[in-house]
Symmetry: C2
Subunit: 513 residues, 2 copies
């Protein structure tokens, strides 16, 4: 399925798009040039898939929302109302998988920030959801709306960030109004695809209505195209909580994107064995996908793979581990087996944007990329096992993600690039610095880092021996200072403001608990 | 070619090997489980190979050593003595490639630290050659023999370090004695495969004689098995300097390993275009391989790929770049095309073991590993574009390399690991912490990092908010304090000491300039 808008519609939106002559589009619409790596044999993939189907049929998933149980019962699942337990017939699951699209597009406001999920596409999503914000100047503190908006401005500033994510929890905004303010900020500060939390029916309805208003489309049109996305976390093991059940139903009905992500931490909420954790992940994801497809056949869903493990000394979650690396690659195989796009992560455990945070992030991100992940969430700015969103880590990761994108550019082996003439023109032991071949190409030959330092030891000492995180601290403040919001139609802006004012006056909506 | 010692010989050596009950051998003899990634089409590989052959035939390589020119002329190369230029017939190159082994083994003192190069093997070699040593306590200073020996002790302490490398230049030892002391320290402090610099005929003869004495074999036996290795750096573009010509001849004659590594820095000593830099790298490597094979058919050679690029703002070398990442993968394709093992690197530009150094190292190391590199030099401890060997970076990298090795362990998908019974035994929304399935496995289920910190924010602050490099500083000192040298036969030790004393009394040997 490709949810492109009808050509006429898209052209009319394009007319309103801002001219941005200096903006690069180099890092949009990335595709991964490599064949996905594999850690499981075909038989092993089949074993895990079969075990997950057995789990769903015999052991079952507890679904707390009565409406969800009722929908699944109507579709043929065996429901035990006393235990709130749903057992899925393998045929029902397989039928749902057939209707789930293998790729689709999430449409952005101007059509320029559309996001494709599936095939060989790669979508980088920034840090999403930590309670704390942190930076070198102010340290670690509870996130505020100011922090949330500063992160949005940074997300908007870099093309390598393909979609918005809920950077940090704006804890200074009352719970009943928070979803409204978060959605409003996303629409005001960025033209990239927004994220909506599944925190209950009323909140989701508010947020999707705002996304619809921002898109300038009627309700009938809205459900035909994905324009927003949410994450559904199962309560591993084997439980779908109330707001998550509602989210699965409401996003599916609205034709919006569900990233269904079991939180299978091996050794804690999942078996200590990686095969067990993957089986549980697979079963829970299949349960969520099945509910979404039963609600609306063809709903855009993403297989969310988040399997990592605990630290066995402390029992605390650990990220960027070797176990998570191979679990990511295995997850890619499981997702391809069922034919839906899959998400992975770029996460780490470190308390500070130091070498450890970078090693762990790279371990996780390269596992995701080697495994052919379509969507990498927390790809920039996540710190401290997800408790903090770091401004310095954000721009460090952006620099590295841009390098990844550069490394995917093909090598030109035309005669002028192989350059035998240029080679013949330089004496043995000489150099190519001033040659015509170099001068014609050097400005664009190599990636120029945003903040990676290539000064020599003396220059570096003279500059005060800065570490990468200190240079990052300078950079994000400069980028924030230079930020400019994307255009927003005045009538739409007014309609959104009215909507938010009215809903807050009405008392907003508390999260579903 | 597999240079295994005859079984009888190896058994007799084994008898003398020390018992080391607590030592893990988990990280020895690693194999890369993934199919090598590709960035070039088959046609592009052929284009670069053909262009390199054209370069060798028409443009030529300047070979400064008269003996090397004479050997190549005898083999059919066209030699211009006035310009010291050698032009290689493609047939001569192709014939040499047929005699170069696609894989071989470097034999270690006890047979337990043997190193296989080729097929799917992966060999991690630590930092090799910087002039400066650096650590958080003493800062950056000229390397000394103490530093050199401390690095050797650390190399010996970790199984993930598979071969020795010349950690740091011991600048306090006079030039004429330095090679003797470096070789003696390697043999005394480690039973892993030693490195010998190609700094001229006399020095190489001394060092290989010491390796022979340490092996306890006669000269006839010595040449039948690789026991030491050297790096040959061409003086890019297109020049083989005097000591390098001697090294190519002497190591080939002695049956020892040559890692032939052009220093093709795109934009400086090589064309600014990546295809041009790779073509020059390929041609220079082929020239070195050809000389080695002409000297002794079947000589163990390694294709050394080191193509990176300059920073275009400063002209300084840059490492861990996206260009180097894809050049590494392309180099793997070129090496497989000619059928010899290949080396890559884990290098970085940063002045300090911070996030940048880690991102860059991972970029380079993952390029090497995705490309199927057999030998990764500077895989641990390299800093500052190779000007410094860092004690903290060494143990940080060791931790990460161990994680890489762990990530290569296969996933067990037997029924007890898929663990449906264990999953059925935990209530929905519960946890697996105390279950029998967890208790039976948790001690060995996950990698436990050497120094990566998984404490929570409060614990971390209480500990003084340490960064990874500070924890690394503690670790390497602990490991040094616990170091114990491997056994060395007393007669051999005495013979080596006598040899070194005698050669120093004779005036040693200066490097060839």
């Amino acid at each position: 399925m490709d949810s492109a808008a009808p050509p006429a519609r898209r052209r009319s939106r394009r007319e309103r798009r801002p001219s941005s002559p200096g903006a690069t589009t180099r890092y949009r619409n990335l595709t991964n040039p490599f064949q996905p790596a594999e850690v499981l044999s075909a038989d092993q993939v089949e074993s895990i898939h079969a075990a997950a189907l057995t789990l769903l049929a015999d052991i079952g998933i507890r679904v707390l929302l009565p409406e969800a149980r009722s929908i699944l019962a109507d579709a043929g699942a065996i429901v035990d109302e006393t235990e709130e337990m749903v057992r899925f017939d393998p045929g029902l699951v397989e039928e749902s998988l057939r209707s789930a699209p293998s790729s689709f597009r999430i449409v952005s406001r101007w059509g320029e920030r559309d996001v494709t999920l599936g095939d060989t596409s790669v979508v980088f999503v920034p840090v999403s959801g930590p309670p704390f914000a942190t930076d070198l100047d102010r340290g670690r503190r509870a996130g505020t709306l100011d922090d949330f908006e500063d992160f949005l401005k940074l997300f908007q500033s870099y093309d390598i960030i393909h979609s918005l994510g809920p950077a940090v929890e704006p804890q200074d905004i009352p719970l009943e109004a928070r979803h409204l303010r978060m959605t409003l900020s996303q629409i005001q500060l960025s033209d990239k695809v927004p994220f909506v939390y599944s925190r209950g029916r009323a909140q989701v309805a508010d947020c999707l209505e705002m996304v619809r208003i921002a898109a300038g489309v009627d309700e009938e049109t809205f459900v035909t195209q994905p324009r927003a996305w949410s994450v559904i976390n199962t309560n591993s093991p084997r439980q779908i909580d109330l707001p998550m059940g509602e989210g699965l139903i409401d996003f599916a009905r609205a034709g919006q994107v569900l990233v269904i992500t079991p939180f299978t931490l091996a050794g804690a909420m999942a078996p200590v064995s990686l095969a067990g954790a993957l089986t549980l992940q697979h079963a829970e994801a299949l349960a969520g996908i099945t509910l979404a497809q039963v609600v609306r056949s063809g709903s855009p869903v993403v297989y969310g793979a988040f399997t990592s493990n605990v630290d066995m000394r402390s029992g605390a979650p650990a990220f960027g581990t070797p176990e998570a690396y191979k679990a990511a690659i295995a997850s890619g195989q499981l997702a391809r087996h069922i034919g839906v796009p899959w998400r992975s992560s770029g996460v780490n455990t470190s308390n500070v944007p130091d070498a450890q945070s970078a090693y762990e992030t790279m371990m996780n991100t390269f596992g995701a990329l080697q495994g052919g992940a379509h969507m990498i969430i927390h790809a920039a700015g996540w710190l401290e096992s997800g408790l903090s969103a770091s401004f310095e880590k954000l721009v460090l990761d952006v620099d590295v993600l841009q390098m990844v994108a550069e490394s995917w550019q093909p090598i030109d082996t035309s005669d002028t690039e192989i350059a035998l003439d240029a080679i013949a023109g330089v004496d043995p032991g000489g150099h190519f610095f001033g040659t015509a071949h170099t001068l014609e190409r050097y400005r664009s030959a190599f990636y120029e880092p945003l903040l990676f330092d290539r000064s020599n030891h003396e220059q570096w000492k003279e500059a005060g021996s800065p570490q990468a995180m200190e240079r990052a601290n300078q950079l994000w403040k400069q980028v924030l200072a230079a930020y400019e919001p994307p255009p927003l139609d005045a009538a739409i802006a007014a309609e959104l403001a009215d909507f938010v004012d009215r809903r807050i006056a009405e008392g907003g909506a508390l999260p579903r608990s």
